[in-house]
Symmetry: C2
Subunit: 121 residues, 2 copies
Amino acid sequence: MKEKSVNLKETFKKFDESWSPKVVAELNDYQFKVAWFEGEFVWHDHSETDEAFLVLEGHILIHLESETVSLSEGELYIVKKGLRHKPEAPVKSKVLLFEPKGVINTGNEQSDLQAENDIWI
Amino acid sequence: MKEKSVNLKETFKKFDESWSPKVVAELNDYQFKVAWFEGEFVWHDHSETDEAFLVLEGHILIHLESETVSLSEGELYIVKKGLRHKPEAPVKSKVLLFEPKGVINTGNEQSDLQAENDIWI
């Protein structure tokens, strides 16, 4: 798996839980992860790293303290290190995440939405 | 530009040259780049880093010494550090690359196909 090509949309047939990123590939000490987004996530930040969001299907919002970024299919956005943000998906959406290995989905926040980390699919 | 969302397919309306990656976003000391692939590139390797290829539209081949990887739309592949590879595109294709800032498209190879680096679009 780790050395083969990955059909990103196919990976979403293997799991259904929202806000539960699954690793699909590693690049140096970074990971590509796929995740279903649906409804509202929690406000949080990652004090050590930027984080990339690429919408593969659907539509998501990234709420920042100063604005809300709206992302449709094929749109990429980088949340800068330390910036508080709250993802939201008005419709269940397929998202590709990219960030260093070890990043926790809820960042520095205590939340029931914290997902187990480093789970490959 | 550097803090806004990027519509990946729209960026391809802004340039036409093949094998000439353009930076669309930075994440820590890494860059997302878009590139047109068409025809054959040169055999090369990157001795310092892995390199990610995600096909946004079209179809590409990544020739390795041991096999050829075929990638269609929505497929992701990581060429591991130091592995010699030759990209090829039977049809002109839109590709998203991800790698550390400073990586040269032709790696350690001398070639006329070496593109100017760190060009934003």
